[in-house]
Symmetry: D2
Subunit: 356 residues, 4 copies
């Protein structure tokens, strides 16, 4: 990080930026009211900080030791880039704003009819954003991989249904991307691109998606520590895209004996991450629980712990869903979840305001 | 399990019980309105079930495969022993009843004055039960082990302070026990005996404590699966003591990089265990988080997820506490926690009633 | 899986294959001496097995429940495709054959000179295959990402050095691939393509690499169970590529307190996987340990537990390496490792022969 | 730690010791050739080190930050107490000496006849020490708990069989202890007392057993980090008992899907711990694997990684064992294991000598 003198000229700043580029790094210039800070994006070990400290207009030049900085509250405060929490606007919906946001829809899109039926249901239940899977990451090659697995044509068709359903029911839409070759296609149709837990570490994919400039719903891998998760999210900001919705969806279960939930929803990660970063955080109770009868309780806990929204799998007839049928809830159940979450959010309003 | 005919006589029942004893097992007789069920406590593999099926008055005789049964809702319904949730009464306090219960106090008792000051504080803040550690399990032999480590005399003195503080402020009291040799002593002074996470697997200690007949606050080990936890709780019921308060206090953190919380509070274990057992479940946000600034959020999440209470470490001046100073909150902060939790409990009331 | 009658005609087989394709699946036809078995590759839930059982020439038609089958010993025996262990030939080197195979080289290629110096060293030490990283997966965007990060030109140059070094010292070469866009480029230069731990779940990348038909060194993710690992390896076989070298490189460390190794090398996974699959398995002690002074012991343990080779990071001057300097050993240390491993392999020879 | 001047008198040393006692700590005095070091055992936070530095004869007085020190190589070197590896003699057997040591016997003693048959078998196979369980820690209260569960009389009888078998076949004997109330009884009969994985954290039990002065076979809990394990072992040395055999027996398995081993044998913990402590380390492949067919491979790996012995469950007829039948091997299989392990030990001899 390079901090300029308060009277540093534009030329001096430009000079520092051009010096940084010589070393193969990018510069992230933040002009605050009182000073300008230049962040380094890339391999800092190449930079001779003492030489930089001697350049005209430079007040201080020093490496930052943490694996992430651009997404941190600390750096944001220092550079005055983000003060308070980042609010991401998608259409009329604000993620990270004053009200909890509910993303809902089928695990996998199976047909246009199925999608529209569910989209209508979740809209009526009070959801704000429609989800629907087209490229499904699956453990077994012998399981249904989503309609996107059948080639570009079917993928495009399914994407167009999603777009259409979103438009019809006035719901921005989100779908998961699994491979680099679909980035352009998916970005054409959706408002938010999801990078799923299994691709959390896939830095080439992350970078490619980040460059599209669209909001990204970024899920924590089930074996990833919080520091790793935030460090990989930094790959997105490094492409100048700060519209990141972090999502906790459960970590590996621990201990002998049978598992009562598919994963362990790490709810304490929500407030822990909120102390670190200004990015909005949501939770996914469906994949964490892997069973319908815990969705209500986990959703309530998610809002109570400070998440600013939920992503929930909903199906009008869960029993016949092709994927994850045992963890999807009905639109009516979603309505109850949303109503309960709003009650908690309201009950906590005064305490949260006092604490922020 | 042996199910008797509806018209089985007392003699027939007594005969089955005496047959069971011949094999070195104990019998758990449950007389319901319509039938009598005799549970086997001990090593079932010794029992010739087909011989038992042939005894007079016996309808069915069969082994139960799960590692726990006496504490399960399923067995409780079958035997009509416990229908609904178990409510444990300690003085005027009901654990597992209609209102959330708050247990609070210092991690370790340091002096009579410190204890009384904190007891007064937590009472005013709205807590129901007073906690205070005398025998502290510690990772390092070179750390403070609690006043109980200095011999029976000091242990008794600290216990008498706890008793006195409880009486003065009308708060039932709980303390942790670490070794078999202190069971009699501790049982003399306290209302609830705590078996801590590190002793969860210590079946000899569990059995000895269970026999005292007092309510037990039983904490899950940080490496234990839910099935293991419930199976070891069964050792308590096997001694005919059903006054067990299960407590989730965090499991091992997972993933590379620095840990942002000391343990991972497994909140989804609460509703998962509630489906399995009729016993009340509370959470301990203090040991899970290991940091003061997450206690509020985790407490709210605990109540929202369905816990029927909290155990929280409180100190009038956390900075000077001898143990766990970084995770204790003040009485004023406790008051805010309790108030927020009550708000959530109230907001969720109608939904919970509909679902039970 | 569809088992044909022993007298089934080619036409009948072709008919079944074409029926399978109608459902969007691929067919894996294995003609054994006594019968022909047709495996289904893809989503089996779509297949009406009872209809298939009624087709001419079909003896049995049934789904297989495990998430992997094509790579399993059991299926291999049934279909007579692979009996015994698969041996993968790369040039003159046999992986999975009678002698342990040693893959060695720098973590990251830094310059042509550095690579050639190390290549010469590992050749002299007795290594069989040369490794060298060009695209480095890194947790922090602010760390060195390998020469491949600087664009196609530099990537090609580094790849050509690797090729040249391999040719000069008669060592087949392997490098890791991180993103789909480099598959064609990398395949041009190397003998074995590595898919690293962080990309283990990246099924689009796996599929694309598998189609190149080259041997794949496939590493287990540090949070993946064995079943998951084998299931994702199945994505490679589903592309008709059976030249897979499975690699265990350490799983997440567990437990409180400081970690003494970077990961926990799961050595028992080696014999456990050998019972399941005919594929060769190697271990990577370097990334697992993360410290130089344990490489010798872990290498010995790897060969003793039944691995058929090692992949080890070697640098002529570990202290100055740009990546992972603390875990690389010198060529002289490698020589000692290889010699000790050969001693163990020899000492165990008679026992292994008796048991196979 | 307090370091005395080289010319410090006995009186000065005694004075420091008595000062230490005033603060409720114990003193561990090590007189080396050139200086005397006094270790503090207990809560160091109470000690005013600057005051101690001013006492006559004191050269330096300072706290030690690590949670363990008495068992560390570093402290041992400083105090000259233990240089090199500790060798524990039990009868004619040396644990931690030049040859690997094999402890074998039934999981649980079922009858005198069974025990004698197995004892004879393991002796013939080349084992050095006989194990046999009398108090079995079990997850389910409904499983067989060992003969010790039936009361003191049966426990004494089983212990006397073990003693007798040991005497008859010239094998020192070891059994596990589970509760404080059996310490005196067990110590009367056996040569080595085992504290099992589930009691690793039970500091009251540890202290009581340590005071008996007998060698202790101390197993790592399956959820314990290495630092925790060594820290709890320090409780034994704090009672002036350095005859501790550390045992790695597997940690919690990780990852989704079915487990192929019961636990994950953490073999890298062996060399990692050897760098930290002078205590001998053995491994238990039986409980780690939970399946017979991996015992041979894991045993070989254990010796290859640097363990100085094994503890293996053996039964003359594993299929009929009351506990853990699926993981016990026959005496013939044990013979093969021992022979292979000796081969590895020999093959590694020269390398180990060069490195020590």
């Amino acid at each position: 990080m390079i901090i300029m003198n308060s009277e540093a000229t534009n030329e001096e700043i430009a000079n520092v930026v051009s010096e940084i580029k010589k070393y193969g790094l990018k510069a992230d210039v933040s002009r605050g009211a009182y000073r300008t800070v230049i962040g380094l994006v890339g391999d800092e070990s190449k930079i001779p900080f003492s030489n930089f400290a001697a350049l005209p207009g430079v007040k201080e030049a020093m490496p930052i030791e943490t694996p992430y900085k651009l997404i941190s509250r600390e750096y944001a405060r220092m550079t005055e880039v983000e003060i308070g929490n980042r609010v991401i606007k998608v259409g009329d919906v604000e993620i990270g704003g004053n009200e909890p946001v509910f993303i809902a829809g089928p695990c996998a899109i199976e047909s246009k009819e199925q999608l529209f039926k569910i989209a209508q249901g979740v809209k009526k239940a009070g959801a704000h954003i429609l989800r629907g899977g087209i490229f499904k990451p699956r453990t077994s090659v012998h399981s249904f991989q989503g309609l996107g697995a059948n080639g570009t044509e079917e993928a495009s068709e399914a994407l167009s249904w999603l777009r259409e359903a979103g438009d019809r029911f006035e719901l921005p839409v989100v779908t998961e991307i699994r491979g680099e070759s679909h980035v352009d296609l998916v970005a054409e149709y959706v408002d938010i691109i999801q990078i799923g837990a299994r691709n959390m570490y896939d830095q080439d994919l992350i970078t490619k998606v980040a460059r599209k400039g669209k909001p990204i719903l970024y899920k924590r891998h089930f074996g990833a520590g919080i520091e790793e998760f935030l460090s990989f999210a930094e790959y997105i900001v490094a492409e100048n895209n700060r519209d990141i919705i972090l999502c906790e969806r459960g970590i590996l279960p621990l201990g002998k004996g049978r598992n009562y939930t598919r994963y362990t929803l790490d709810l304490s990660a929500v407030p822990a991450m909120r102390k670190e970063t200004y990015l909005p955080i949501i939770i996914d109770p469906s994949h964490a629980a892997g069973r319908r009868d815990l969705i209500f309780d986990l959703s309530c806990a998610g809002i109570a712990v400070g998440a600013c929204g939920l992503i929930v799998e909903v199906h009008h007839n869960p029993g016949e869903a092709l994927v994850d049928s045992q963890q999807q809830i009905t639109p009516d159940e979603l309505k109850e979840v949303i109503s309960a979450c709003r009650g908690i959010h309201k009950a906590l309003g005064q305490y949260r305001r006092n604490r922020d």
